[in-house]
Symmetry: D2
Amino acid sequence: MRLITFLLSLIPMAVAFGQEHEHSHGRVIEFPDVPGYKTLKCDFHIHTVFSDGSVWPTIRIEEAIKDGLDAISLTEHIEYQPHKEDIPHPDRNRSFEIVKDLANAYDLMIIHGTEITREMPPGHSNAIFVQDVNKINVDDPLEAFREAKRQGAFIFWNHPNWIRQVPTGMATLTDFHRQLIANHLLDGIEVVNDVTYSQEALQIALDNNLTVMGTSDIHGLVDWQFGIPEGGHRPITLVLAKERSPESIHEALMDKMTIAYFNDILAGYQKPLELLLKSCLEVGKATYQGSSSVVNVALANQGDSPLILRNKSPYSLHAHADIITIAPHERLTLQVKTLEQLSEFMLSFEVLNAVYAPEKHPVLSWNVQVTP
Amino acid sequence: MRLITFLLSLIPMAVAFGQEHEHSHGRVIEFPDVPGYKTLKCDFHIHTVFSDGSVWPTIRIEEAIKDGLDAISLTEHIEYQPHKEDIPHPDRNRSFEIVKDLANAYDLMIIHGTEITREMPPGHSNAIFVQDVNKINVDDPLEAFREAKRQGAFIFWNHPNWIRQVPTGMATLTDFHRQLIANHLLDGIEVVNDVTYSQEALQIALDNNLTVMGTSDIHGLVDWQFGIPEGGHRPITLVLAKERSPESIHEALMDKMTIAYFNDILAGYQKPLELLLKSCLEVGKATYQGSSSVVNVALANQGDSPLILRNKSPYSLHAHADIITIAPHERLTLQVKTLEQLSEFMLSFEVLNAVYAPEKHPVLSWNVQVTP
Amino acid sequence: MRLITFLLSLIPMAVAFGQEHEHSHGRVIEFPDVPGYKTLKCDFHIHTVFSDGSVWPTIRIEEAIKDGLDAISLTEHIEYQPHKEDIPHPDRNRSFEIVKDLANAYDLMIIHGTEITREMPPGHSNAIFVQDVNKINVDDPLEAFREAKRQGAFIFWNHPNWIRQVPTGMATLTDFHRQLIANHLLDGIEVVNDVTYSQEALQIALDNNLTVMGTSDIHGLVDWQFGIPEGGHRPITLVLAKERSPESIHEALMDKMTIAYFNDILAGYQKPLELLLKSCLEVGKATYQGSSSVVNVALANQGDSPLILRNKSPYSLHAHADIITIAPHERLTLQVKTLEQLSEFMLSFEVLNAVYAPEKHPVLSWNVQVTP
Amino acid sequence: MRLITFLLSLIPMAVAFGQEHEHSHGRVIEFPDVPGYKTLKCDFHIHTVFSDGSVWPTIRIEEAIKDGLDAISLTEHIEYQPHKEDIPHPDRNRSFEIVKDLANAYDLMIIHGTEITREMPPGHSNAIFVQDVNKINVDDPLEAFREAKRQGAFIFWNHPNWIRQVPTGMATLTDFHRQLIANHLLDGIEVVNDVTYSQEALQIALDNNLTVMGTSDIHGLVDWQFGIPEGGHRPITLVLAKERSPESIHEALMDKMTIAYFNDILAGYQKPLELLLKSCLEVGKATYQGSSSVVNVALANQGDSPLILRNKSPYSLHAHADIITIAPHERLTLQVKTLEQLSEFMLSFEVLNAVYAPEKHPVLSWNVQVTP
């Protein structure tokens, strides 16, 4: 059966199947835009059978669509080709070529990329926004970075915490990396890779002005690796871009307007992180309970990550201690004891699961107007 | 139909219904015992049609059994009897009398109690472990407390944060209460009542050596008031008692060995709180990942409350930032970066949703032995 | 706490609780209206503490609102008053009086009723649409029926299959009942009572021109007796009434325009049953799969009961054998093999879980127009 | 990352992920063994990138393990190789060779197979239990079948209802197929393929002594095609084999001891179907309700398919009409009205969602012993 093209195989199963499955929340990753920026959901570290992944490139497009992503890169290892016996194709642009039209048809941005795969140092690095991967396939690692940059690449250091290359799991800058940075050949660093998070990588980013990245580095199936049926999600980079375009993503990456998102962690520079959190946590209508001085304030979490808040307001709460967890997309009424009825008051939270530096959490404040 | 006794009506519906409904986790509240103590689940503030509640006393027994409670009190208002036209019975012990045998049959401890119901001060207070409520039905409030004490009562101040009596919602000690305390007529205070929490009440407890209480103060149905079908639970007092007996509960209450539990909050004195948390959070086997210095540590939450942990260990983590949430009854592998392979190491967490004073959270430590 | 009226206690808990619980489908019972009739959800057999039930009458109003009912009756036993020691009130209209204003405030129709409670024959019978229950409280059973009828009652025989009165569980007409029917003193019969169904009662209804009734006969809590948290529902009578008014319900009951609904069973006279099923099972757009002669037909179940269909169409199906189950509110695409492309075709189903007589199921047909 | 072999990539994600996801029922397909036979779960129609599938063969092993299968075949099209430009490998045994050791390591039986892919007639056919697919790669279709048979193959006709080859979707025997059957070159026929069911194919099986097959014919991901997260499952053939071995499967296939399972349909010859159903539907303890003649009988569905039963017993039921649906793995108490208390009685059900011929359903009977 199925002497059909892959495009045809992508027709939703519901038609053939004759049944719509019930679907509570869906797996589409959802975060709100922020004032002046689109919040783009991106995964720039992905493998297929064209390096050491286990699926044909088309599956990566379908996974991205199901996850509601805006942009991906297929980043095949240049130097590591374990399926070479079966897939001897010498063109390192091949997986990108196979699916670029399909991605277009879905309005998914596919950014041409590759993984420069070396022993440490420099370890593995992704170059995205490249033109021709074959030209990057050279012996000298430094020359590979230079060629990628000549093509206009944004380059980031992959899994600096990988225990296979760094047995302590502690990301540590090498002289080689310092040289790359000094020569503007390294722009970012993965703070989240696959199912790991590295606070040392975050510190390296801050110390060296590198962009914070979060990627899936998926080899198998996203559904299995990240527990999609159980409510999990793939790690991604949220990119705050002026427009939904590759150019705008490139600009935002160079401007470090990113947040790595995984496992309830939101990690990034303070500016994009606070912009995102202010849009995620919506403070709505405030009204006093009768003639008391306890005011109900409507809170809503508009994003996919739970928010673990510590109350930093000058008031205690009527139904919570100092910690408030607000689940993804939950609405919650906070009851604030303002001592007397006020026409406006200050609400302030530290967001404990967001980090702009190791163990540093943003504090957000609102001047809440009371509805009489 | 149903010319039958209430005992018969309590036969599980499954038989008559011909069908066992699927039941994922159940509503039974579960917390582990702690070394040397039973962790008893108690609700000592409950109403029925015999004061201003909406159900016959038997329903309260059934609710308690469904919730897996060990002990309850029916605490009818002495002075407030809105159903008097229909239920003129003058005996204030009546609701207790109706169900004491039924509770016994279920092995549920029912502690005889009542609510002394006055304007502020002293507001409302529960006296439990009493013998005859009718004798407490006197005009002079102080005399009511004295009579309760003569009967052997444990007495606690109800909802000191009630906005109907305290429009700020801020629990505040009055001279009357100071006098009660000085005369050993007040033993405890509700830090949790119904759907409220009061950090001011917690401070009053600490300052005055009062026992921390958490109660449902249920008038309608537990299922509806606390969202049982949606996974909610009634507020309770966890009592760490040497034995599962009324005497032992009384002793534990006088010893302040209690934790108020509701809405993911665990509030109590430092000693019982840390005992409970140490039993809830189980640290299991630890093994290094191959030859790396990243060690997998098995954590398990044995209780019904999520635990929101802040890592206070001298090590960073491989898959978490500094905050780790562990859901009720979840098992989780923590990956700790110990820099070199150790045979033992220190793990330390602040439990942010537990409070032993306003904004004060217990810190627990484990000396973890590594399995080679 | 809670020196408040019952009306106040009915304010949704969400406000006080400060949290909206997530709620997948809700417990509101939903069936579509049918052409010319409102489909009203009614439960005319309910007890409170004023006979042998376990709740104050207000709880019955709240339960009915949560279940989305249009009309209820509180049908206290006249002759059986096990709480008399505590509730000596001699007025048999009392529970109705307590809540009629509350029901009005909720736009819930409360039909004044009672249960005439005798040994067999005649056993138990409900009289609804009565004026004064006290006048029905007479020794002679026949006179009780006559008085109810003088007041304008609709009277039905309760649980004719009750094993306490009929050890075989087989509903059997007695001479007394024949006499009642002959004298127009009995209008209906419970085919569904509590968690039972009686096909013998259905046959008695058909043979004697009695209205088919389904009731909860609730004594405890609806949530527990019928497994609401697990997706269960109380048994009800669906009344096809010209308007949403007590008068129209009375007319519909006398016209036998009812369906008893419980445990996936829909039982009633053929006319109302087929009207309801035709509205529940919606046949939508039909389009051929490309140039094949397999046509996709959109089916939707608009009601709360699953529908178990047997294909009686002259065509076989492409994804089903002869039995098709369509879950409540499910949408499903049926693939029909019409042998050639037709502009219209006949679709026909026997609805196996609907009964208009013992083991007799309605067959519904549609002339489906194909969208080119 | 991940310079690792595929075997390593199969290590459960839980370790790396540091978290066990909660898992209600799992996706493992479960059916009980039957007396004298193992009930083996088999899928003998599967594609990978080595023909027109979208995944590397290893993914097919992982999917099968997750689904709890006992045996699979990778059945690449011999004649259709749309990825030839990238995967020019000329060896048609290649996908089998890549994963046979991996399958062994998992104790999954992998039966060497292939799909002979022709225009109609004969359309597509799978040959499983072959030795060398390359030798079957010949022009003359008849010769391809002969060579497969020489290698010991079991051969079945694929999707005889495929609208691309049969626009009516009606499976129809051709002279070519009659010739194959006459020459013992065709042993089975797919009654279930992907998301379709063909009652005409079932009739062809019966008329020509062919084995009934059900297969996924998966090209993309099993999780997506069959809605695994929503509780769906892949179509399979349940093979009743004397042992869990390839030899025993071959023997069972030749003996027609199979049931095709999908979309709540169980289709097969009467003998294996009734054996399976008797093991799925367990009739347990029977006890009378008090002194009544209503007997409670414990029923349990031990399999993954719901069972839609029609009561064919000589008794009516106390809580059901004539149709009883018992969900997968549900336990249910049937209440049977036996008119008097019996020491044993006959219970009999037609299983409406099981078919041994078009619109023919097995009837199962039990002689139930009553426990006094």
